[in-house]
């Protein structure tokens, strides 16, 4: 490490693995009534983000002041060639409302990449992704990276209403087999999903299962994975302050054998072994 003072905060951090990147906003458009797609120009260090990792975003000032804490967002797309990263986010509370005000040309401070992403074994033939709501944003880059390694992707997307479904085009473009279920016609109910999954893997067996976005689906998949002798991972959420293992506010309980252990979502996760997670 050099002893010379870094001339700016960014420079001081850039040589390290986790950077505080000042990214220019390229686009921040509504995808549907609830979600927005935020595209940023990002420096090389940010482009190393792997599926399941996240960035910690410093929200701009909103209507009720500047949100003090950063907001964690999974990386949704990494386009290394174009030097871009993207997020898909739901407008929810103060922080995401403030993010929604960003205009092209504005600068967003994104710290990352952070956390431990998904495991991919190149020897696998096919993986199953089961996502609910904005959980799709977290699973999408996994599908892209798996497909690039020649691994087949089967995806089940669960949404409240058909008009809120996202990423189907992205998934189909990489050759994934995509199933959509929703609350309106009851197809997203646990029993229905379970039957559907059985049919899906009967038609095309999978090596591993990945999920994000629903405690109900997590429980279902724990049964499913145990019954079929599969392995799997889940990406979990928890409120964060530091995003860097320091504050212990983001812990969740995990079952490890007979013990229950606290782990930090920002550090040991956000991706965890599917069977150890507690919904």
């Amino acid at each position: 490490m050099s002893d010379e003072p870094a001339s700016t905060l960014l420079a001081g951090v850039a040589e390290h693995r986790v950077g505080e990147h000042l990214c220019k906003v390229l686009a921040n458009a509504a995808v549907n009534a609830d979600y927005r797609h935020l595209r940023l120009a990002a420096p090389p260090a940010a482009l190393t983000a792997r599926p399941g990792q996240f960035f910690h975003l410093l929200c701009p000032a909103g209507a009720s002041g500047t949100p003090f804490l950063r907001r964690p967002m999974s990386v949704y797309e990494v386009n290394a060639a174009a030097g871009e990263i993207a997020f898909l986010y739901k407008v929810h509370g103060e922080g995401t409302r403030a993010l929604a005000t960003l205009r092209p040309g504005d600068v967003l401070d994104a710290a990352g990449p952070l956390g431990r992403g998904f495991t991919i074994d190149p020897a696998w033939h096919r993986i199953l992704l089961v996502g609910r709501g904005v959980g799709l944003a977290t699973l999408a880059p996994l599908a892209v990276v798996a497909a690039a390694q020649g691994i087949g992707v089967t995806a089940l997307l669960s949404v409240r209403r058909p008009d809120l479904v996202m990423s189907v085009a992205l998934l189909e473009a990489i050759g994934a087999e995509v199933h959509v279920v929703h609350d309106a016609d009851g197809s997203s109910e646990v029993r229905a999903v379970e039957r559907r999954l059985e049919q899906m893997i009967a038609a095309a067996p999978v090596d591993a299962v990945f999920t994000c976005g629903s405690a109900r689906l997590l429980t279902l998949l724990q049964r499913f994975v145990a019954a079929h002798g599969l392995i799997g991972e889940v990406a979990l959420e928890q409120q964060m302050a530091c995003g860097l293992s320091m504050c212990f506010c983001c812990v969740r309980p995990f079952r490890v054998g007979d013990l229950v252990e606290h782990r930090r979502v920002c550090w040991e996760g956000p991706v965890f072994d599917l069977m150890e997670a507690m919904p």
Binding site: V13, E20, F68, R70, L244, S245, M246, C249, H262
Partner: protein, 315 residues
Amino acid sequence: MTDLSVTIGSLRLANPVMPASGTFSEALADAIDLDRLGALVAKTVMPEIRQGNALPRVAETPMGMLNSIGIPCKGPEAFIRDAIPAFKRFHPPFVASISAGTVTAFAHLARQVGEGGADVVEANISCPNLEADGHAFAVSAAATAHVTKALRAATDGPLWVKLSPNAPNIAEVALAAEAEGADAVVVANTILGMAIDIDHRRAKLGAGMGGLSGPAIKPIVLRMAYQCARALRIPVIGCGGIASAEDALEFLIAGCRAVQVGTATFRHPGAMIHILDDLDTWCRARGIERIDDLIGTLEPFEAPRLPPGEDLAAE
């Protein structure tokens, strides 16, 4: 380059900027060069294995945050075996923050971490989360004297005592720590606060109340640091809402010998490096060669008032 070095008792620090306990771990090495810091301060360790408080553990407030983490802890043995060596890979002096529910356990722990390799023992006698409504050693000068005396007897190394802003008269508590042999006081821990989720009509923190930190509290803590620095002969280390070199300079000019940076690192992982660089730039722009020359240079004041109306009549 400005000479940023400062002396805290027998300890010479390369510069006055260090992390605050509980807002730092060696993982920050992923983001900044830890060897540039004045010292490294670990999360408080306690004698027993603990899980910490109920979730949620943090709540956002205007220019600040509440926390009720509650000191999750794997116990002193794990700390000495795993954490101390991890921190000692870096050059800055290593400060072990300790706390305990009784004076005996406190003293025992001080001896353990001292022998385990800590360069400094920082006694966190002020954590407001451990007792109902924020009671702690640090809210009483007598209790502070009592625990400081036991800690002083238990360890030969540098002993810092970290005070609580919830104390009725913090300078009095600081004097008690000084009288019983503390080498420095840290001013201060978080201020007890609360936030309510109005939709669910429950406290935003699982523990009900928690400690307020961040820029919001800076004016209050700066006042306390000034009151302590004015009253004490031992060094005062300022801590509360420091997020920039300008903030750090306020504390130094008020009489602090060093500063700790907590919550600012959550917003900007590089905050401490930024502060160091800007301290150097600020001093150089003004021809200040040693930061030490700035410490305690606040122009004295004695609440001057405009004279009452009648006296002005003839001006």
